[in-house]
């Protein structure tokens, strides 16, 4: 048992605690976010990305960031995004929240977790068939916004601008202005 295990455990505990407290482990709150009734979960997610992107720029300058960009496969990433959206909209859980929600004691999340393990096993079984079919032929590589803007700070600024506009749009278009708790 190296320090890696303890770091993972510690990071997971902190992560699970925060997402429970903000309400992301509640499938009810997640459904209300998707139905444009409550905006605070998507705002929370988008803001966390903005702050992480800015912080990561600092970590990279300091030379302590361990980054790994996943490639974009136009078909595999796209098909997966559509399937994932169907599952997420249907049950209100995503892979990370199932663990924290199951720990919290939500029985439906325990079943989502078991279903997730089954889905993982089926995909692992079909990997040799599906990846060459859907992923590899359409893989356009590890592209990032830096490829368009030319330098990292400009790409971070672009991301902050886009995500900031999304947060603004959610604030205007989702019904509950105060986290939906005011209705």
């Amino acid at each position: 048992m190296g320090s890696e295990i303890w770091l993972g455990l510690f990071s997971g505990i902190a992560f699970g605690f925060v997402i429970q407290r903000v309400g992301a482990t509640s499938a009810d709150k997640m459904a209300r976010a998707h139905l444009m009734i409550e905006g605070d979960i998507p705002k929370f997610m988008l803001m966390a990305v903005i702050l992480s992107a800015i912080g990561l720029l600092g970590l990279e300058t300091a030379g302590v960031a361990n980054t790994r960009v996943l490639p974009t496969s136009l078909v595999a990433t796209g098909v997966a995004g559509i399937l994932f959206g169907i599952g997420w909209g249907f049950c209100g859980y995503c892979p990370g929240t199932t663990w924290a929600a199951a720990g919290e004691g939500r029985m439906d999340a325990v079943f989502a977790l078991i279903g997730g393990l089954a889905g993982t096993a089926v995909f692992a079984h079909l990997h040799e068939y599906l990846i060459p079919l859907l992923y590899d032929p359409f893989n356009v590589g590890q592209i990032t916004l830096v490829d368009w803007t030319g330098n990292r700070p400009a790409a971070v600024m672009l991301l902050v601008l886009i995500f900031g506009l999304c947060i603004g749009a959610i604030h205007l278009l989702w019904k509950g202005k105060n986290g939906g708790q005011a209705q």
């Binding site: 009810d28 966390a48 399937l83 994932f84």
Partner: protein, 175 residues
């Protein structure tokens, strides 16, 4: 913001986003991009290889992931512990069936559990196809300015919004 008479049940989104970003940056500094769907692979690999080691050895998807003795599995296990501690020390009600689901489909546990089993199956199958989930692909990827994360993010939010409308129908509108 207008103050309510009782203190809010949930943390407000902005300070919570600062807390989460702090954890994400800690993970980038001490490990690499945070991920949670990989933890499912690590657990399955650990479980299946005890029963069928030959089967696991021959599959690329298991070969490319560590088993349960890894950061990836420790992280998801930690998330369950974090959820447990937060649930026990807070006031957020814990339900087996979400309110909105109960309003739409009734209080059958079997129906809800079958639905989340199916939903869980789909999201993990999809996440393994893309190489990551909401955290491992969307949040980690977008923080690194990856197009894969942004592309995946746009699709999951858009499709989930449409799906939830189809699932909840009028129940959602009446809220």
């Amino acid at each position: 913001m207008d103050k309510k008479t009782k203190s809010p049940l949930f943390w407000p989104w902005l300070p919570a986003a600062f807390a989460l970003a702090g954890i994400i940056l800690f993970v980038f500094a001490t490990f690499g991009p945070p991920a949670s769907s990989s933890g499912f692979v690590s657990l399955m690999k650990g479980a299946v290889q005890t029963a069928a080691p030959k089967y696991v050895e021959n599959l690329t998807h298991y070969a490319m992931m560590p088993d349960t003795g890894s950061w990836l599995f420790a992280f998801v296990l930690g998330m369950a512990i974090g959820g447990f501690v937060a649930g026990r020390t807070g006031r957020i009600p814990v339900r087996d069936i979400p309110e909105i689901w109960e309003k739409r489909f009734g209080n059958s546990r079997i129906k809800r559990f079958a639905a989340t089993f199916a939903g869980g199956f789909i999201i993990l199958f999809a996440a393994r196809l893309a190489g990551g989930c909401t955290l491992g692909l969307f949040i980690s990827g977008s923080s690194q300015l990856a197009v894969s994360g942004l592309y995946f993010g746009v699709l999951i939010f858009a499709v989930a919004m449409v799906t939830s409308r189809l699932v909840y129908g009028r129940t959602g509108k009446e809220e």
